[in-house]
Symmetry: C2
Subunit: 298 residues, 2 copies
């Protein structure tokens, strides 16, 4: 064990926009808040044993197909395409490879998609197993969603930390209830105004309303909502119960039945934005008690 310090550098933590909506650069003071949040979640999770995995921002296409993401959310998925032609084929396109140019006609879909949620590779890793005891994982990844509108916090690329469990229905429901409470308590400890709400996912197509109504009726998704800007309240964390959706999709079982899963998801940029909104854009000037409550996870 080696001793280091996380310092919160002076200066404005406000993210820097790019020419693309929902895509931003993060200065050092913002990243210090991210480091504190990671630390806090780690502490919060210390009560249970969560093996940790860092997930890359691109994953196999087959994985989101199998998980049902393509079917449910085609409008949000980013697919990775590339040029696989010959040098002779590129010769015709090369003159168009300038700003605003139409050089992309030969781009073809690759074997990869952008990561839509950090937890999918975990379910793939359970494929074919019978879980004698509940499994747990802590994952972090940079996710992508092709949002149609842009506002503060509605990012297309953002970091998500998730605590995930798989096991029986009974285990997953009890686990989710515990975590919903724990996360709300942590966020309130940072002096954020948290409201807990039953929520639904942005399904696509004519069956959208049906799926959303079913999801709400069964209370599968709870969101923790907090102001992230003046007059703008967004979900900064959620606690989800997937029933046996992933157990069926990836073929793992618990007590002989398709495995159930649950997860608690933290939207890292949104929590940071909520903190900037509540305490000001210069984290080095935040009260020591706020810094401590973020990093100590209690």
């Amino acid at each position: 064990m080696t001793n280091f310090q996380i310092t919160v550098p002076e200066g404005d933590a406000t993210p820097i926009p790019t020419d693309a909506p929902g895509v931003q650069l993060h200065p050092a003071p913002f990243e210090a808040v991210v480091a504190l949040l990671r630390r806090g979640i780690e502490r919060l999770a210390a009560a249970e044993e969560f093996p940790r995995l860092v997930i890359p921002p691109v994953i196999p296409r087959s994985l989101v197909e199998r998980a049902g993401y393509v079917k449910a959310f085609p409008q949000l998925l980013g697919t990775v395409h590339s040029f696989t032609g010959t040098a002779a084929e590129w010769k015709d396109l090369a003159p168009h490879a300038v700003e605003g140019g139409a050089w992309d006609s030969a781009q073809r879909a690759s074997d990869l998609v952008l990561l839509p949620a950090a937890c999918y590779p975990v379910y793939a890793g359970l494929a074919g197993r019978e879980l004698a005891e509940p499994e747990r994982f802590a994952v972090e990844g940079q996710c992508f969603r092709q949002e149609a509108t842009s506002e503060t916090g509605r990012l297309r690329t953002f970091r998500m930390v998730e605590l995930v469990t798989a096991g029986t229905e009974e285990h997953c429901l009890a686990w989710r209830a515990t975590w919903l409470e724990a996360v709300a308590g942590w966020l309130r400890g940072m002096s954020l105004k948290v409201e807990t709400e039953v929520a639904d996912d942005p399904f696509f197509g004519p069956t959208r309303r049906l799926f959303q109504a079913a999801q709400r009726k069964q209370e599968l998704k709870y969101e923790l909502k907090v102001p992230v800007a003046d007059g703008l309240v967004q979900a900064i964390a959620s606690a989800n119960f997937h029933k046996d959706h992933f157990g069926e999709a990836f073929g793992f079982t618990s007590q002989g039945a398709p495995g159930n899963t649950a997860c608690t998801a933290f939207g890292i940029e949104r929590i940071a934005l909520a903190l900037l909104h509540a305490h000001g854009t210069r984290p080095s000037e935040w009260p020591e008690a706020v810094i401590r409550s973020i990093a100590e996870g209690s």
Copy 2:
């Protein structure tokens, strides 16, 4: 300032492969090495003032067009595509949204590409400026390159930290020489076997050899090469001089002439793999002196 500890957890740090070549998950002991490397680079950079920016894994397409990346390396670029059709159009594709299904025929190129190198947004940020003094930046981003072959360390998605400067030719050349030396010293301090070589970039098309020969003749690129597996030596860091390429492309000047730029790039996964190869796959068992030399940047 708050005190925390970076602990190196017990266990095997070996990355976990996915079904896609060059795309891997990272367990906690690997991430501890990444945290130590970040810390070391931060210390190494403390002699100069480098404002820090974290770059997202997707950036505006216009930026790589303007930087000349599309023209030079079309075979490596990943473009982000999405479905922008209506629910009625999706109805025909939805039945194919299963594993291995052909649901992607209506994917269209978006305004985003995958980040090919962490430094591009910095040059865009200098657009239109006359630099009275040299500018400096420290950037980190998760980069993507559509590599055609796979071997240990030849990842398609990987983290890159870069130290970047912009100013006159004289400044950039002297800065690069200093950093080439400093980084080689840091890597040798970790007991890695480092060789410094003049190198070139994997340009595409019939003019490839010409560009590579010119790049070598002018010694624009130096690579620091280290064994990352048995019989496999790879570049784990580089020191680059771009002449006025980005000054011309983005329209910034120094002393009235197009600005010159230079950068030192650290391939984070490759340095970590070189360390695992040299010291074993369990970082918690590495000698304390190795851990210290990584994290102290000297």
